[in-house]
Subunit: 556 residues, 2 copies
C-alpha cells in the first residue's frame, strides 16, 4: 500500500496508474501525433521519457533497429547527467551499478630516471570531481543500461509508452502553412509504408540522421589525421592504478587513457595509434597492434589481456550543424520550428572527453520541457526557437573543448621544472566543463540578464540550479535541494531568506510569500489554473539560514 | 553489458544467470526438499531470499493464502533491518520509498498553563537515531513492499524461487531416527493432499503457527487489560509536528503515538482507549470512538479525518515459546534440530515499539546462514542448536522491553520540576534497542568470550558488526565498511591495522597477512576448497588509519 494525496494504491509507487484507454501506448502506430521522435538512443529516450508523463500529449518514438540496445559503446555519465537522472527518479540505480570515477591519475616518464625514459611513473593524482561542484558522482555505466532506465520510466508512466521498432524513416515533409499537423513522415515498416502526420518531429537518429538531411542541414567539420584504438578488456596487470581513471603519456610509445568499467573487473583502454596521412588510413589496424602498443606504453608494468569484450579503431574528427531546427536563421521572426535534431544528429566529436552521451541527453532535456509547455498551452510556441539557440552554442563549446583536449592528449610529455604534468593542469582546468556544469545560457525570454545576478550570488544566472544539502522543516529529513526537481515541467521559486526571523512581518521572505499568495501580479496566482493545486505550475521553496530546530514551524 | 569477473552479460546485473533446469523453481512441488519454509511473511521471505541464492539447496516456501500480500499492517523498519536490507541489495529502494523517522517529538500538558490542562504543548524533541548508531536511517514502510523486495530477490536469484500459494499445512511428523529426510509435511492444496519430505522445516506461519503446534510448543504470555485503537488516515490538521513521530500524553484524555507514513500524506495514529475488565472487552469499539478520543487528546489542535485507509482495535498482550526448535532442552547433546519456528510463531507483543517485523526478520536472518552452512558442508549440524539459544533470548529481551515501554506509554504525564518528559528519557534510553542494535549473542562455538574484547574495542563481541565510512584503496571510492557484507554466507576478517607503515615487515598487518597466506594453521587456507577463489569462504579486509593517498598500494 503506497499512500498518495488522493488515495492509496498497492505495489510499486513508481508505476503510475494508467491513463485512459485512448491515451495508452498500443502496438498500432497512429496516423496523427503531437510529437514523433525518430531514434531511440540516449537523446530520443530521454525525450520520450519526459513526454510519456503527459497523457494529453500523443507521443511515439520510432527506431529503425529491431529491438533495444544490448551493448552500447558510450559509458561516461557526468555529474550533470546524474543530476538529470535524479529528476527522472533512477539516479540511485545508476549510482549503484556504475563505476565511480573518484580520482584521475597521471603517468609519464620518470624525470629521476632519465636513463630509462620508457619507464613510466605516477606524476600526479587529482580528485576527479572538485568538492561542491555537484552533489552527484561522475560514473561509468554502459549506454545500454542508461537506455534500460529510460525505458522503465516510459513503461511505468501513465501512457505506458514504448518504442516502435523496425521503422525506417524514408521521407519527411514540412508544410509551412497553417496545418495542425504540419510534418509528414513516411516510414518503411516490415515491408509496408506507414505515413504519420505530426505537430513536431525530433530527429535523434544519429550521425547519419535522415531527419537532418530532410531539413537540409549538414554536419560540417574538420579532421585530425590521428587514429586511436579502443578496447574493453579483462586483463591481469601489476599496474597499481588500474581501477582509477588514468592518463599515461609515454616518452615515445604514445598515450593511453584508462577508464575502469562497472562490475569491478573490465577496463576500457583508449590507445593512441598512428598519425594518418589520409582519411580512412586506420583501416586494417589489428587488435594485436593495439595491444602491442598498449604494452609498450605501460612499461615497466606488464599487461596480460585475457579477454576482449569489444574493440574498435577510430579517427578523430569533429562536426556540427549550424542550426538545430528547420527554420532558417533569416526566418526566425515569422516562422515557428516544427522539426528539431538532437544528439549525434547535430554534433560529433571524439569519445575521450566522455561527453557524447551527456550532451545528447542535455539536448533533449532542454527540448522536452519546452515541447510539453507549448503543447499543454503553458508557453507560446516562440519558446521553441530557444532550443537551437541554446544548444547549438553548447555543442560549439563542446567541440572547441574537445579540440583542445584531443591536442593536449596527443602531445608528448613535456620537459619542465614544474612537477605537475601539463595534461593534469588541462584536466583540472576543464573539470567543470567535463562534469557538464559549464553550460551558461545567454539572456533570453527565459533567462534574465546578469543585471540581477547580485540577487543570487551563489547561483550564476543561466546555469543549472546548484544543489546543496538541506534539512526539510516538516520532518527533519536530510536531503538535497536538487531533489525537488522532477520531470514534471513545473517552475520553481527558491527563496533564500535573510538571517532574521522569517515569521516577522517585515522580513523579505514574509513579504515575498504575502505577494505570491495575494497580489494580483503574483506569478503563482496568474499562471495557476483555477481549481488546480496551488503548486501545480509554480512551486515555491523557502531556504532558511537557521537550523531547523531554531525555526518555529507554527508561527510560519 | 554488465561486466563480471568471468565474462559479460547484458541487462540488469541483479538478475543472476539461471541455474541448471533441475535446480530452477517449477510449479510442481517436489516430493523431497532440503528446506521447507511454511509461511511467506517477513520471516519466511527473508529466509527464502537467502536460500534462493544457493542452487545446490532445494528450497520451497509454502503459503496458505492465495497470493502475495497487498496491504500489510507492520511498517517500522529499524536501522538494523536496513543494514540487513543492504546485504540483500535493496536498501536503496526501501530508503527511497520509506518515510524517514528523523526526530521524535514529545507533547504533554503545558506546565505554564495550569488553568487549561487539556491543552498540549511540545515538551521535547530528540533525534530519533543517535549519531553513529548506524549508517542507516530508521524508516516507515509498509510490510507489503518489504515482501515485494524479498520476492524480487528470489525471482532474480539463480534458482528463480517463488512462493507456492494455497498450501495449508495439515500434519507435520518428525522421524528422530537416521532418515535423510526426517520431516514429513502434509498439505491441503486445492482440494488435494500433498506430502513433502524435508531435511529441515521452518515455521514462519504466524501467531497461530501449525508448525509450532506440531512440535508441541506453546506461546505462553500475559495480558495487560488495556485496549488501543490504530488507524491509517488522511487528515487535515494544524498540529505542527504531524510529519514527525510524536508521543502525546494528555492530562486526562489519554495518549497517542503518531507515525507518519510513506508517500507524504498518510499518518498512523495509535490511540490509547479504555482499561479493560476482561479479555476481549474491546469488542464493539467503533472507529468514531477512536477518532473522538484522538480529537480530545490533540486539543487545542484540530484534526479533520478525511479518509480512513485501515483501522483496528487491539488489546495488549505478550507471549513467547520457551524454545525455537523441536529438540527438548534435555536432549540437546544427543539430538539435532530439524524443525524451527521464527517470527510471530514464537513471540508476540504490542506494535508500538515497532519491533515485530524487525525481530522476525532477525530470527530468520540468523537461521539462514546456519542452514546454508550446514547443507553445503561448511559447518557441522550442531551449529543449528545456536539458533534457538540466540534468538529465544532476543525475544525475551524484546518482551521485557515492550512491557516496560507499554507501561511508560500508558502512564499519565507526571508532575515534575524536570522539564524533560519522563517518556522522552525512556525513549532515549531505549534508542539503541529500538534501532535493533542491542542484540548481544552470548559466548558459544561461534562467538568468543569477552576475554578478547580488548583486541576490538570499538566492536563489542557478540554484537552485529558496526559499520564506518571508509575510502576503498583501489579506486578511492567512498563507501561503508558494512557494504562488504552480502547474503553470500561468507565469513569476514576485518583487520584494523596499527598506525605504522603497513608494508613494513614487522607491522601487525604484514604479519597477519603472511600468516593467513602461508601458515598451515591459516583459517583461510584450511577452509577454502582447492581450486576455489581464495576469498570464497573467508574474505579478508584491511582497514588503515592513513588516508588512502598516503598508502603505497604498490608496496602493499
Amino acid at each position: 500500500m503506497e499512500i498518495h494525496l488522493n488515495g492509496f494504491h498497492d505495489g510499486n509507487p513508481e508505476i503510475y496508474p494508467p491513463a485512459g484507454e485512448d491515451k495508452l501506448y498500443s502496438p498500432e502506430m497512429p496516423d496523427e501525433l503531437d510529437v514523433l521522435i525518430v531514434g531511440s538512443g540516449p537523446a530520443g529516450l530521454n525525450l520520450a521519457a519526459q513526454l510519456s508523463q503527459f497523457p494529453e500529449i500523443k507521443t511515439r518514438i520510432a527506431e529503425r533497429k529491431d529491438g533495444p540496445m544490448l551493448r552500447g559503446q558510450a559509458d561516461g555519465v557526468s555529474c550533470r547527467s546524474m543530476e538529470m537522472f535524479n529528476a527522472f527518479g533512477f539516479v540511485e540505480k545508476a549510482a549503484k551499478e556504475g563505476h565511480w570515477v573518484n580520482e584521475t591519475c597521471f603517468w609519464q616518464p620518470d624525470p629521476e630516471n632519465p636513463e630509462n625514459p620508457e619507464q613510466i611513473v605516477r606524476a600526479g593524482r587529482v580528485q576527479d570531481v572538485e568538492d561542491d561542484l555537484s552533489e552527484m558522482p561522475h560514473i561509468i555505466l554502459n549506454q545500454a543500461r542508461v537506455h534500460d532506465f529510460y525505458l522503465e520510466v516510459m513503461r511505468n508512466s501513465p501512457t505506458r509508452l514504448d518504442v516502435d521498432y523496425q521503422y525506417q524513416l524514408q521521407i519527411l515533409e514540412i508544410d509551412t502553412g497553417e496545418s495542425a499537423y504540419p510534418v509528414t513522415a513516411t516510414f518503411a515498416h516490415q515491408g509496408q509504408t506507414k505515413t504519420v502526420r505530426a505537430k513536431y518531429v525530433v530527429g535523434c537518429d544519429g550521425a547519419r540522421s535522415a531527419v537532418r538531411t530532410a531539413i537540409g542541414r549538414e554536419l560540417k567539420g574538420d579532421y585530425a589525421y590521428q587514429s586511436w584504438g579502443v578496447m574493453d578488456i579483462l586483463m591481469t596487470t601489476d599496474f597499481p592504478d588500474i581501477r582509477h581513471k588514468n592518463i599515461i603519456k609515454s616518452a615515445a610509445a604514445g598515450n593511453i587513457l584508462i577508464i575502469p568499467r562497472e562490475g569491478g573487473h573490465l577496463v576500457r583502454l583508449y590507445v593512441e595509434l598512428d598519425k594518418l596521412s589520409e582519411r580512412g588510413g586506420s583501416k586494417g589496424v589489428s587488435l594485436e597492434h593495439i595491444i602491442d602498443t598498449a604494452s609498450r606504453i605501460f612499461s615497466p608494468y606488464q599487461i596480460d589481456v585475457k579477454e576482449v569484450a569489444w574493440w574498435s579503431v577510430y579517427e578523430i574528427g569533429h562536426s556540427l550543424t549550424d542550426k538545430f531546427d528547420d527554420v532558417p536563421a533569416t526566418d526566425i521572426n515569422h516562422r515557428l520550428p516544427h522539426v528539431f535534431i538532437a544528439g549525434d544528429a547535430c554534433h560529433t566529436h571524439s569519445a575521450k572527453a566522455g561527453q557524447g552521451m551527456n550532451v545528447s541527453m542535455g539536448d533533449s532535456f532542454n527540448l522536452g520541457w519546452k515541447l510539453i509547455s507549448v503543447l499543454t498551452g503553458r508557453c507560446p510556441p516562440e519558446l521553441l526557437h530557444s532550443y537551437s539557440a541554446e544548444r547549438q552554442a553548447v555543442a560549439q563549446d563542446l567541440i572547441d573543448f574537445d579540440h583542445e583536449w584531443s591536442r593536449a592528449m596527443s602531445k608528448p610529455p613535456e620537459d619542465s621544472d614544474d612537477t605537475t604534468p601539463l595534461i593534469q593542469k588541462h584536466f583540472v582546468a576543464g573539470g567543470e566543463f567535463t562534469a557538464g556544469l559549464r553550460v551558461t545560457y545567454p539572456p533570453s525570454s527565459i533567462t534574465s540578464s546578469s543585471d540581477w545576478q547580485h540577487l543570487a550570488t551563489g547561483q550564476p544566472v543561466g546555469n543549472r540550479f546548484h544543489s546543496a544539502p538541506v534539512i526539510r522543516l516538516s520532518d527533519a529529513r536530510p536531503m538535497q535541494l536538487g531533489d525537488t526537481i522532477k520531470i514534471d515541467t513545473r517552475w520553481h521559486i527558491y527563496a533564500f531568506a535573510g538571517s532574521g526571523d522569517p515569521a516577522a512581518t517585515d522580513s523579505g521572505i514574509y513579504k515575498l510569500c504575502t505577494f505570491l499568495a495575494n497580489d494580483k501580479n503574483s506569478p503563482v496566482l496568474k499562471h495557476t489554473p483555477e481549481g488546480a493545486d496551488i503548486d501545480s505550475v509554480i512551486s515555491v521553496y523557502g531556504i532558511f539560514q537557521q537550523s531547523h530546530q531554531a525555526l518555529d514551524f507554527e508561527a510560519m
